[in-house]
C-alpha cells in the first residue's frame, strides 16, 4: 500500500477557525460600498396574465432608486438555453430555457404563486418595502394545473404556447425485451408511488449583489455552479462576452444541498436589472419564506411493474414516470432520473418512460443531495418487499441481485454504459448486517430496514493553477467554493500530497472568481474531490517537472533523478544533495485539467444504510432508534470529514422519510414556508448512529478517492421506508407522517 504523507488521516479543517469564531463570511455578510437594498414583489396567483402594472407611486417614494418589471427584461431572455457542456437532452425535448417559469417573464404571465412580478431598489429596506406596497398590478387569472399527469390531459391549462400539450419531454427507451421478460415471470407486481418536494432550507438564504462598471457586469453570489451555468446565462442575457462578466463568491457558502445550482440565474437577474436601472450596486437577499418558494426538490410520481421468477430472479421491469417541476422546465439534470431507472433494479429487460410536464405548483424541479435514485427506488422498493415476503426470500439477498460490482457495465444515460471502477458493496453489506444485528431480535414495535444506493456523478471539467512563490510557498487556484463539505481542506491536502510540499505552505484561493480563477464544474454531485482532485494531480505533475528542471542545474543532477518530498527537492540516489523549495528562486506556474471521458471507467461508490425504528401504531409516529451507514468512498482523504458527511446527509434522509415536505394547497399556495412548520430534524430527532468508511482499491480517482457526500440521504430514507413497510406490510409515501401511517393501518386492518 502506498504510504501517504498528508492524506488518509484525520486533518483538522482549515475553515475551522473562521467558523468557530464567527469570522467566516457568508453571502449574508457581503457588502459593497454604496449598495442599495432590492426587494421583490410576488404574484398572488398561481397562473395569471399581468394586464397592467403601474409603478409611478413606488418610484416616487423617497429613497427609491429603481423599479423594474418584465418591461425591463433584455430581449430574447426566454430563449436562452441553460444547457451545460456534457449534458445530454432527451431526443424530443424542448430546450432548457433557463429563465422561464420563475422570475420576471417577458410575456407578462406569472406561472406560480410566489413568482416575481416586480422589484424595487432603495437606500433602505423600509423604503423598498413601502414602494412594493404601492405597485399596482392588475391580473387576469388563468386556469391553473398542479399535477403533471393532469397537465398532460387534453383540455388542461397550457403553460407555454411553444410547449404544446405541456410536454417538455416524453422520453422512452427499452433495454432488452420487456415483453418476453414478463412472459418468463411467474409473478408480476405493480406499485404506484409519489415523492414529495423537499426544501433545501439552506442556512443562508439566496442572495446576490450586482453592479455594472460600464459594459462590465459584476456579481457576487454564493452559487455552486458559477462557471457552467450562471456565467453563460448572464453573458447571454446581456449579450456580453463571458470575459466581461465577473462572478465571484463569498469565502463560504451557508449550505447548498443542491439548492444553489442551475436556477440561481433567475433571481440573480433581478439584482442585475435593478443595478442597471439604478446605476448603483444592489443587494437582493431573500427572506427565509421567499427562499423556500424559490426552489424545492422535484416531486415525482412513478408507476412500476416488476416480473419475477419463483426463485427471486427479476425478469422484467417497466416504469412510467411523471415529473412535476412546477413552471420551470430545466431538464438536463432530470436526465439523471431517467438514467437511474435503468440502474436501481438490475435487470436485462427494462422499459422506461418519463414525462416532464410543467405545472403551476411552486417552483419545484430542483436537484437535491442525490435526487433521482431515491425517487425511483422508493417505488420499486415496496415491490421488492412484497416479493421477499411472498416468496420467502431474505430481503438483503433479493437486494443483492441489483448490486453493481467492480467492472460491471452500468447503464449511464440512454444507450450509454460506464464501467464501474470499484465497488465495496459486499463488504458494506456484510459489516452492516452485523452492526445492525439484521437477523437478531427486535424490541416491541421495532422494525429493521436496509437501503442501498449507487449514486450518479456529474461529469464536468475542472481546471486548477498552481503557483510556486519565490519563498517556496504555493498558491492553489481553483474555482471551488467551500460549501461545508471540507473542500478547502481536502483539496489543499491533496495538492500537498501530489506536489510533495507541506500543506502549511499551500494556500487555496477562497471561493470562485470567474475573472481570475480557472473554470470549475461546480460543487455538486460529489464531483469536487474527484474532478478537481484529478486536475490538481495533473497540475502537480507539471509543477514538479518545472521545479526539477530548475533544480537540476542547482543540484547537478538530471531532472528525472530528482524527487520532491515534504518541501525538499533532493537527488533520489543521494538524498544528502538537497534544497528547500524556497531555493528554487523562481516563480513557477503550472496548470492541470480534468476533462470528462466517457470511455474512462466510472468511479462511484455504493452506500448502504441500516436502520432500526419503532412504530407507534396508535399515534402513527415513527422513531428511528439506531442507524448504521456504510459508505464506499474509495480512499477517504480526510476520514473524519467523511463521517461528518455521513451523519449530515443521514439527518436530511430522516427528514425526507418522516417529516419534511413543502406543502401547497389546491390554490398552489405554499403553506409552510417557515422552519417552525417545515420539520427538518433537530438534535433530539437524530438517533444513535454508526458510520463506517469502506475503502476498496480504486485506480481511477485521485489517490483512489471517489465522492462521499450526498448519496447517504438516499439509502437512509429508503431504509426507514423499508422498516415501516415491515411494520405495516404496505407502502406509505414519504414523508411517513402520522396521518398517512394511520390511514394505511386502517386499510390493512
Amino acid at each position: 500500500m502506498t504510504k501517504f504523507h498528508y492524506i488518509g488521516k484525520p486533518i483538522k479543517r482549515l475553515d475551522g477557525f473562521d467558523k468557530v469564531t464567527g469570522t467566516a463570511k457568508f453571502m449574508q455578510d457581503m457588502e459593497v460600498p454604496g449598495m442599495l437594498t432590492g426587494k421583490i414583489l410576488y404574484s398572488p396567483h398561481a397562473h395569471a396574465r399581468i394586464k397592467r402594472i403601474i409603478t409611478d407611486k413606488a418610484e416616487r417614494v423617497p429613497g427609491v432608486a429603481a423599479v423594474v418589471t418584465h418591461n425591463d427584461l433584455p430581449p430574447g431572455i426566454d430563449e436562452i438555453s441553460g444547457l451545460e457542456p456534457g449534458m445530454v437532452l432527451p431526443p424530443t425535448a424542448v430546450p432548457p430555457y433557463l429563465f422561464r417559469g420563475w422570475g420576471l417573464q417577458p410575456d407578462a404571465i406569472v406561472r406560480c404563486m410566489g413568482s416575481p412580478v416586480a422589484a424595487v431598489a432603495a437606500n433602505t429596506e423600509e423604503a423598498a418595502t413601502e414602494a412594493l406596497g404601492l405597485i399596482e398590478v392588475e391580473y387576469e387569472p388563468l386556469p391553473a394545473v398542479f399535477d403533471a399527469e393532469e397537465a398532460l390531459k387534453p383540455g388542461a391549462p397550457q403553460l407555454y404556447p411553444d410547449v404544446p400539450g405541456n410536454i417538455v419531454f416524453d422520453w422512452k427507451q427499452e433495454m432488452g425485451n420487456v415483453e418476453n421478460g414478463f412472459k418468463e415471470a411467474d409473478l408480476v407486481f405493480e406499485e404506484v408511488g409519489e415523492t414529495q418536494p423537499q426544501s433545501h432550507l439552506t442556512p443562508d438564504t439566496r442572495g446576490a449583489i450586482a453592479w455594472w462598471e460600464g459594459e462590465r457586469l459584476v456579481i457576487c453570489t454564493a452559487t455552486m455552479s458559477a462557471y457552467p451555468s450562471l456565467l453563460p446565462a448572464m453573458a447571454a442575457a446581456f449579450k456580453l462576452p463571458e470575459s466581461k462578466v465577473k462572478i465571484y463568491g463569498p469565502p463560504y457558502m451557508g449550505g447548498s444541498y443542491g439548492g444553489r445550482a442551475f436556477n440561481e440565474a433567475c433571481f440573480v437577474l433581478v439584482a442585475v436589472l435593478l443595478a442597471r436601472k439604478a446605476g448603483r450596486p444592489v443587494r437582493v437577499k431573500l427572506t427565509r419564506e421567499e427562499d423556500m418558494l424559490a426552489l424545492t426538490r422535484c416531486s415525482t410520481r412513478l408507476h412500476a411493474k416488476i416480473g419475477v421468477k419463483r426463485d427471486g430472479t427479476i425478469t422484467a421491469v417497466e416504469y412510467r414516470a411523471f415529473l412535476n417541476p412546477g413552471p420551470w422546465f430545466y431538464p438536463p439534470w432530470v436526465n439523471r432520473y431517467f438514467t437511474h431507472l435503468f440502474k436501481v433494479i438490475k435487470c436485462d429487460n427494462i422499459k422506461a418512460r418519463a414525462t416532464l410536464a410543467p405545472t403551476n405548483i411552486p417552483f419545484s424541479g430542483g436537484p437535491f443531495r442525490g435526487f433521482a435514485y431515491m425517487e425511483a427506488f422508493l417505488v420499486a422498493q415496496p415491490i421488492l418487499k412484497r416479493i421477499s415476503q411472498q416468496l420467502g426470500i431474505d430481503y438483503l439477498k433479493l437486494l443483492q441481485q441489483s448490486f453493481w460490482r467492480t467492472g460491471d457495465k452500468v447503464p449511464n444515460g440512454p444507450g450509454r454504459y460506464s464501467v464501474l471502477s470499484s465497488s465495496g458493496i459486499d463488504e458494506a453489506i456484510e459489516k452492516g448486517r452485523q452492526l445492525i444485528d439484521w437477523d437478531g431480535p427486535t424490541g416491541p414495535d421495532e422494525y429493521i430496514g436496509a437501503g442501498y444506493c449507487l449514486p450518479g456523478s456529474a461529469q464536468f471539467p475542472s481546471n486548477v493553477i498552481l503557483r510556486l512563490n519565490r519563498d517556496g510557498s504555493i498558491q492553489l487556484e481553483t474555482g471551488v467554493i467551500e460549501i461545508g463539505a471540507g473542500q478547502y481542506t481536502t483539496l489543499t491536502y491533496m495538492a500537498a500530497e501530489a506536489i510533495g510540499a507541506p500543506p502549511e505552505v499551500i494556500n487555496m484561493t477562497r471561493s470562485f472568481d470567474t475573472e481570475t480563477q480557472p473554470w470549475d464544474g461546480g460543487q455538486r454531485s460529489e464531483r469536487t474531490t474527484y474532478s478537481t482532485g484529478l486536475a490538481i494531480v495533473e497540475a502537480a505533475k507539471e509543477l514538479r517537472q518545472k521545479i526539477f528542471n530548475v533544480a537540476s542545474k542547482k543540484l547537478g543532477a538530471k531532472a528525472d533523478e530528482l524527487e520532491l518530498e515534504e518541501g525538499v527537492v533532493f537527488v533520489k540516489a543521494d538524498p544528502a544533495k538537497k534544497m528547500p523549495l524556497s531555493a528554487v528562486g523562481l516563480p513557477i506556474v503550472a496548470t492541470g485539467a480534468f476533462v470528462p471521458d466517457p470511455e474512462r471507467p466510472w468511479a462511484s461508490g455504493p452506500v448502504v444504510s441500516f436502520v432500526r425504528v419503532t412504530v407507534d401504531k396508535e399515534t402513527g409516529q415513527v422513531t428511528p432508534t439506531k442507524l448504521v451507514i456504510l459508505n464506499d468512498v474509495g480512499r477517504a482523504i480526510n476520514p473524519p470529514v467523511v463521517h461528518t458527511q455521513n451523519m449530515g446527509t443521514l439527518s436530511a434522509g430522516i427528514g425526507y422519510a418522516l417529516t419534511e415536505e413543502v406543502i401547497w394547497d389546491s390554490d398552489g399556495r405554499v403553506l409552510n414556508a417557515n422552519p417552525q412548520f417545515y420539520h427538518t430534524p433537530t438534535i433530539l430527532d437524530v438517533p444513535d448512529f454508526h458510520s463506517e468508511i469502506i475503502e476498496p482499491v480504486d485506480q481511477i480517482g485521485p489517490f483512489g478517492a471517489k465522492g462521499a457526500g450526498e448519496k447517504v440521504l438516499t439509502p437512509t430514507a429508503l431504509a426507514i421506508s423499508a422498516a415501516v413497510y415491515n411494520a405495516l406490510k404496505t407502502n406509505v409515501n414519504t414523508p411517513i407522517t402520522p396521518d398517512k401511517l394511520l390511514k394505511a393501518l386502517r386499510k390493512t386492518e
Partner: protein, 323 residues
C-alpha cells in the same frame, strides 16, 4: 419590519391607558416571540402605530406560592416557570408544559401571559404579506375561512363556533385549565377556561391587560400528566396535547380533570371522559373508554381525522400516566 413607535410602560394602569387612548392603534409587547413574527410577516390589515412594552413594569414577572396556591405574574418567563423549584415540585405538569414550548431560546424570552394570549397559528391566517399578499380570512373580517375547503390538517376537530377553525396553540393553557387556574386582568377575574373565546381568542377588551395567573394547590394525593404530540421533539407546536389530573384513592378515581389542546379554538375540556372515570378503577379499559368518550363528539374536517385518533390515544395514555 415596518416602522412603529415604542413606549415602555411603568405600570399596568399606564399601559391600559395607552391602549385606551390609541383606539386600537397600539399593541402590547411582552416576550415578543409571537408579535414580532406577526409584524415581520405583516399579516394583519392594521399595523400598530405603537408598541407598549410590559417588561418594564416592576413585579409583573413574579412567581409566588401562598396557602391558596400559585400566583404567576403574566410576565413570568416560560423558562423561569419550567425551572422554578416550587413549580417543579408541587405543580410539575405546569413546569413540563412550560418546558415543552418551542425551544430553549423562546422559553427564555416568551412569557406565560404571552403564551396564553398568543395568536393562532393557522397557515392561512399567518400567510406572509410579502409572498403575494396576506389573506383576509374570516377572522380578519373577510368572508371565508380558507381551511374549510383547503388544507385543514392542523385545524379544529371540534368545530369552529365563530366560523374560524384555527386551534388554540398554547401548550401551557391546556395544563393550567386542567389545574383549575384563574386569571386576573386589569378589569376582572375569571376562570382560565372562560378567558378563551373561539375568535378573537380571548375575552380581553382592546384596552385590557392580563396581569396574573392563579393556580389552586393540587388536591392531596392527586397526580398529573401532560403529553404533547408533535412531529419533532423540539420547536414544533402541538398537533395535540393533553393534560390530565387524577385523584385516585383506594384504587378508585375520585376526581378527574382532562383537557385537550390544539384540537379546538379554545382548550377543550373532556367532561364526558372525566365523568366516566369518577368512582372507577383506573385501568386500561377505563382509560380506553375515557379516550373514546373524549373524542366521541369530534367532527373532524377533511384532512384531520388522524388528530382524533392521536387525541384518543393521548387521553388514554395521560390517564394511565397519572393514575
Amino acid at each position: 419590519m415596518k416602522p412603529f413607535q415604542h413606549v415602555n410602560a411603568s405600570t399596568t394602569d399606564e399601559a391600559a391607558s395607552l391602549l385606551h387612548k390609541s383606539r386600537g392603534k397600539a399593541k402590547l409587547i411582552a416576550g415578543g416571540t409571537d408579535l414580532l413574527g406577526i409584524l415581520t410577516d405583516d399579516i394583519l390589515p392594521a399595523y400598530p402605530r405603537t408598541l407598549v412594552n410590559l417588561k418594564t413594569i416592576p413585579g409583573l414577572d413574579s412567581i409566588k406560592e401562598d396557602s391558596k396556591g400559585l400566583r404567576i405574574g403574566a410576565l413570568a418567563k416560560l423558562s423561569d416557570i419550567a425551572g422554578h423549584p416550587v413549580i417543579k415540585d408541587r405543580y410539575p405538569m405546569i413546569a413540563r408544559a412550560a418546558g415543552s414550548v418551542a425551544m430553549p431560546q423562546v422559553r427564555n424570552m416568551g412569557t406565560i401571559g404571552g403564551n396564553l394570549c398568543q395568536d393562532n397559528r393557522c397557515w392561512y391566517y399567518r400567510y406572509p404579506n410579502h409572498l403575494g399578499g396576506r389573506l383576509i380570512c374570516l377572522r380578519k373580517g373577510g368572508t371565508i375561512c380558507y381551511t374549510l375547503t383547503r388544507d385543514n390538517r392542523l385545524d379544529s376537530i371540534f368545530g369552529g363556533p365563530e366560523g374560524c377553525f384555527a386551534v388554540c396553540p398554547s401548550d401551557i393553557a391546556t395544563s393550567l385549565v386542567a389545574m383549575g387556574a384563574t386569571v386576573t386582568t386589569t378589569r376582572r377575574a375569571v376562570a382560565l377556561q372562560d378567558f378563551f373565546t373561539p375568535s378573537p381568542g380571548t375575552i380581553l377588551d382592546a384596552d385590557e391587560i392580563l396581569t396574573e395567573i392563579q393556580v389552586p394547590r393540587p388536591r392531596e394525593g392527586s397526580r398529573s400528566a401532560y403529553l404533547k404530540f408533535r412531529l419533532r421533539k423540539s420547536i414544533d407546536f402541538a398537533m395535540v396535547n393533553v393534560a390530565c389530573v387524577l385523584t385516585v384513592e383506594g384504587g378508585l378515581c375520585r376526581e378527574a380533570s382532562i383537557v385537550l389542546g390544539a384540537v379546538a379554538p379554545t382548550p377543550w375540556r373532556a367532561k364526558g371522559a372525566e365523568d366516566v372515570l369518577r368512582g372507577r378503577l383506573v385501568d386500561d379499559a377505563a382509560a380506553e373508554e375515557a379516550g373514546q368518550i373524549a373524542l366521541a363528539n369530534a367532527t373532524p374536517l377533511t384532512m384531520n381525522k388522524y388528530k382524533v385518533a392521536i387525541a384518543r390515544v393521548l387521553v388514554k395514555r395521560a390517564i394511565l400516566a397519572s393514575a
